[in-house]
Symmetry: D2
Subunit: 468 residues, 4 copies
């Protein structure tokens, strides 16, 4: 059963060229000079005028994450279906272990959530919320047997996910041995909790104080500290999630300039939105954008610096930190106390578009767009060349993107299970045209959805391609 | 007439995957899942166990360059034949204009040198030795009509190629308008000439004083200055040739960290050889390694820093600055006066191997090897995707490289017209296996050479892919 | 009762000039053009050929400190007598509060130790080992009423003196309000404890492992973190004690370059001694030099960088961290387990000499010598112009120093209560000639000691002169 | 003949203390505890409530400088009288040598200008406009015999004072041997001249284009270059005059952070005035502020950075670059062509006040005020301890400054020979109260002037106190 994509321009991280792509079953079987494909393909898609790119890979999602007494509103069914609509054909979600829990139990629970529900392929990172001897041993086992090769630690959320510097160091030492990557939530949560308590004591309860009590200097501090600890652990590969602040970027850039195994992602919210404009919206409106780290002050250099970091590769990846909570019954838990607002923003459906908008505005090359949303995610997290590249033998995860199309984002039209949109009314100068997952068209040009829950498969991942 | 390369592993800048490559005439026509190629190919090459990479591109050569009263010993015949033997299938050589000369005449002279002589494809940069109104106008014409889109200026060699800062600024302004790239020889030649005169006055005439009178701080200085001038010229694309010094690298890295259009190459000699070990060899032996900038002191950080720069992409390209002079009758012109030794080292045949040796030693990934010797040269100098990538529609310039082979460098076996080797006895843990240029096998596995002078074609180049 | 010092050269931080100094009672009453003093002085000291400098001020001593089940071997009697012999006429010692203790009780205990025992004047810093609401209130009271205007916190020694980042932040906020200076022991003790446990588990019990388990990167990390926290606390004045590492110095320098209220001291041991040469001495010998932070590796840049830091004023002060423990019965507590060796080195007697040796070796100007051992300590800790300067109205704390003298350090001759010398056999190209405290000659030229316990007075200190 | 100054507070670079000052003839004879001075002084001045500081030293003036076909409007009579009114009791002016001229002749010419005319003491730097063998020999002679120990070179003004990098290097090498300090006008004049010609060709002739054609990046560039050349000359002491730009300050700070012999001054105009507000004033008004380097853009960081540099000592001195030209007949030479406007601003009378205003506004400590206007100038240029300090044996150059006074600057009241004021209407929250030069009251409290031309003496200067 073959599929021929003709007339498009294949775009990869180092350039673009006209080529036809032949798919055989679930795999890409050939890249061909335009017009030289077999005449007898079962199906042909005309990609004239379209960019042919590897399917998007979102390496930071939290389907059904329990947080503050509720759960992220997207499950693996709704969340991956929304992702597919937005041109993302793979996610890597975070399984969770907490203090005292068995790591493998946490992984099993996440398999149970995903199994039979996902519309697209998925892998798991593991959150290690309780570093101890057992958890460290489990890290080895997950790398060796389970295809889980990356572990997230938290420098924030004391009493929930927080690891102190000694625990972080031990986990890093373990990762240095087994080849895994340490992912870090870098905010100094101990200091932040003092600021939060002081704010609440002063009656500063509105959502904007969520941002004010988490100053960017404390993200920069934690970033520096994690880099130092990783150096003590003989340059453990270290990946900063959801980097939001100029100070943090400067630390990452300084480490990278010395050749260190240090990497980072940012998220669309930090590239576009601000503390004043969104988090500081009147009344309780700002709760829509409560996430950690928070949106940063408009008049500081953060957004410009992050776009520049994407250009210079000090920021390697754009992921979403997709963690949606509805306003009703969920965000509302924090009415009168910002510290009770569930943390998270839902963007899994819009990432490919939102980064493309940077291309349209001249902030990023089209090659870096592909690299930051697909190729580097695959290489960083052990999915390459199965995913992230248009090449013979790779999974036929392909997106046709229309640079002349137009997309308007709205809660009225999105597919996420979320009663508002953090991006309401945002316009994109481009459009997801066709989405193909393992050779199967999930979204076709007229927008019809052909996917179904359960077709997505678990991906056992290898080690990072960037490991030195 | 088709050629099928089977069983190999295609390596590109962002990864590697098993694929067969089908060549039709001069072009690559398809990349195919292994074993799925047509059974009826006119010719098949078994690439099992070999790396299949785009042909090497050496963007810095000086065939037949006049220097100090003599000429570089390789012409386009001998030099490009030697290049082909070493896995390089494209060169970009430097045509020369001097003060008072017409730029277009210089270009015509270089066409005359190359025409009918080259074994592989070639393009030209233009050295502008005399910046004036006519030369600036000529730059526009060369970009528009001649496929010459990069211009080299010199901050060294007063009275020969030297441009003062005002001339440099004007040329940069012109390039900013027409899209060309300014290539810079960054050494403070005015200060160096004082040091040279002082050394000679003290009787310090041996080759090692060539290095001592050109301290690395003066390469760093010139690099900083050129970056500042390019900023005044609104971020003209600026490419530093033959970067040799930690100080210069630090300036490039600092500029790149701010997102500037600043790029650099280094050369194998700076990655491996030293002032003490080679330039300071007994007697007149050191003359073999007299080049500018000079080899740097062994106990300083230069070599480690350059390898790190290749990893971090602060150094984008490895080229050779191939400019060979024989010891006899040429280097000997400087017996008793190091300042009269013709400047240059011949390496065009060994670049692909010498950088691969860094892969073998764990200093560089195999992907960065391909990127620095082929893909980035093509993208930087407007040859992509015709050159520098294994993709349908690209020229079938392909090298099969044997990671299990072994190469020993010697004047006794090299193909350059040079009576010594700067790399005598050096061993490489890899081997150029097969070299294909536009679909034609130039060097086959048993070492037989099938090329011929005159088959190489002139390449009109476009603008840099990196231009912002 | 007057004293006239004639013929000497007065040296201050910004220069030197010939002048006679007239003392009236406890105070300096005049600086006079040479030879113009009153003929009828009760006493005259001929200072011809001598440098006349303000008495040394050692702002970091630990008389009788309880540590690891024993007490520092010098008390206020022996320790201040030794200090006087070495040209130090003022110390600022650390009173101690621990978790759960009342700050004022700790201060009272230190008054009890010093009262009636000190030979020279003294002040107190306060160690806050247990930051809580009461301790924060006590800080205000000590600043307002007790002349204690500086508070030391620890990022090391979990379970003993350690404050977490939230406690540090709260103490900094309090200091920002009341004008006090926060003094910081900057080592990441949480991570260090992991390394210590791992070393002991591997049987690495020798003294050298004390140094190996406290890598300099963890001092740099803590330094960066404290600077960030002080920034969150709106640039609280922050003073790093016993800075030992290049990484830490770089952080201080970076903060100072932006104009921040960040200061640091180093100690003689970090300027001269090394991990290999002293801490790594055979057998248990290295225990003599166990202190925290530890001596640093010989072949790294630490010592050169620290001397440079003294020149550039990124290091403002040299103090001793005088905390002596005898080998017998004290250091020996750590036989077979380096982590049980009491931490500390005794140097209070040799600081003025050891820094002068830097002058003799051309590493420091004679002006900076005076500034780092006397003037800046006075200004930094609220004692200026009472102490630290030769000026009318100041306390007549004066040292005559002989730049042509010679001093050999030995346990056989020192006055500290310590059964070994960390500086055994070290030669100084200079000599403390005469030491005067509040107009009274304590040590005269022939070495006779005229001081006595109990003559030293408590100094209520003001706020730092450097406060912005 | 004695003079007693009672009741004041003596302020020096490291602190302040109450003391009376006794003057005997031309010298300070004693500093005395308040109220302890001799009852029989010939004269007593009550300094109650006043700051008693060393007389100001302005190390950058250009009396009668020939420039662009005219001469600076102040001569040694008018200029030094004005200086005295403003609390400056010493100047160091620039004697001039041009290409082909004999250095000693230039010095003699300046002696002729000053001799019999100066109201206050003065020294000379030497401008070397034509570096050649003779000039280099002359530098040795001036250092050895003439008390001229500092030499200014220009990286700007090609064809007038400009030295190329080879000449600069040679002069630096000479200075490194004889101990002199190289003073540098750091602007890339070769590049600037291109920008000037381009602006004029476009009809951009207004004064503001003087600033626009001298971008700060070209001051930063030249600063970096001079620092590099001084490093090649084995760390020749290097002093940047009239530093105006953030980029230049960053280069100085970076060099100083490594311990280099690099120093800089700034001038009041760069601390307060801007390209838009002054140089861009309507019509030809901006000509009043045409100087090189130019005033910098208001919305860039220059002024804040310069104030911070004064605090951190990366800027050591505030001098004026006093070089006044009247609007009538002088500045007017540039009507219709900004490049013909004589370069210079007149501030010699207001420096002490303008820097004090920074104290009043909390930007600088009172100690740094004294250090930057008096003590460091003396130490930097070999006048210490004769000048720059209130100490026995020093020249009795003393200023009483009233921190409660108020000064308004206006051409109507100033004493400079200048038909406008660059500071018209500026208010100072302080006032020069009494000015004493070598024991003689030049300006008394009611403003009466007691000085006279010819009383000022030539100062043979020694080497810099900062020389390493
Ligand atoms: Zn997180
Ligand atoms: Zn997350
Ligand atoms: Zn060159
Ligand atoms: Zn070249
Ligand atoms: Zn401590
Ligand atoms: Zn201590
Ligand atoms: Zn100047
Ligand atoms: Zn000037």
């Amino acid at each position: 059963m073959t599929l021929l994509i003709t007339g498009g321009e294949v775009v990869g991280p180092t350039g673009r060229f006209a080529a036809d792509v032949l798919v055989d079953g679930e795999k890409i079987s050939a890249l061909l000079a335009p017009g030289t494909g077999p005449a007898d393909s079962a199906k042909t898609i005309d990609a004239t005028g379209k960019l042919v790119i590897p399917g998007g890979i979102d390496v930071h999602t939290h389907m059904k994450l329990p947080f503050g007494g509720t759960f992220a509103s997207d499950d693996f069914d709704t969340g991956t279906k929304a992702a597919a609509h937005g041109g993302t054909t793979t996610i890597v979600d975070f399984a969770v272990q907490r203090t005292g829990e068995v790591v493998q139990d946490g992984l099993a629970a996440w398999h149970a959530l995903a199994d039979g529900n996902a519309h697209i392929d998925y892998g798991f990172h593991m959150i290690i919320g309780g570093v101890d001897d057992d958890a460290l041993k489990a890290m080895d086992q997950l790398v060796a047997d389970e295809g889980v090769t990356s572990f997230k630690l938290f420098m924030a959320y004391p009493g929930v996910f927080y690891s102190d510097d000694g625990k972080i160091l031990r986990a890093m030492q373990t990762a240095r041995e087994n080849g895994a990557t340490i992912m870090m939530h870098a905010e100094n949560g101990i200091a932040i909790d003092v600021l939060v308590a002081q704010a609440l004591a002063k009656g500063q309860t509105d959502p904007v104080y969520h941002g004010i009590t988490r100053p960017s200097i404390l993200e920069g501090e934690a970033t520096h500290r994690a880099i130092a600890l990783a150096q003590v652990a003989r340059d453990t590969p270290l990946y900063f999630v959801h980097l939001s602040a100029s100070e943090a970027l400067a630390e990452v850039a300084a480490a990278r300039a010395t050749g260190r195994n240090v990497f980072a992602e940012t998220c669309p919210q930090y590239l576009y939105l601000t503390l004043e404009d969104q988090l500081g919206a009147p009344g309780f409106e700002g709760a829509k954008w409560v996430a950690s780290p928070p949106l940063r002050p408009r008049d500081e250099s953060h957004r410009d610096d992050l776009w520049r970091g994407l250009r210079t590769n000090d920021l390697a990846i754009v992921s979403t930190d997709h963690c949606p909570f509805c306003m009703k019954d969920q965000k509302e838990l924090g009415l009168g106390d910002f510290s009770k607002i569930p943390n998270g923003i839902g963007t899994v459906e819009h990432r490919v578009d939102l980064v493309y908008q940077g291309v349209a505005e001249g902030k990023l090359s089209v090659e870096r767009w592909v690299e930051t949303i697909a190729t580097t995610p695959a290489r960083m997290f052990g999915l390459y060349p199965r995913k992230g590249v248009i090449a013979p033998g790779s999974d036929a995860d392909i997106v046709l993107y229309d640079p002349n199309g137009r997309t308007t984002i709205s809660a009225a039209t999105h597919h996420m299970n979320l009663d508002y949109s953090a991006w309401e009314g945002v316009e994109i100068a481009g459009k997801v045209d066709t989405v193909i997952s393992r050779g199967e068209v999930l979204v076709d040009r007229d927008g019809t959805y052909h996917g179904r829950k359960g077709r997505g498969r678990y991906l056992k991942r290898g080690l990072s391609s960037y490991l030195r």
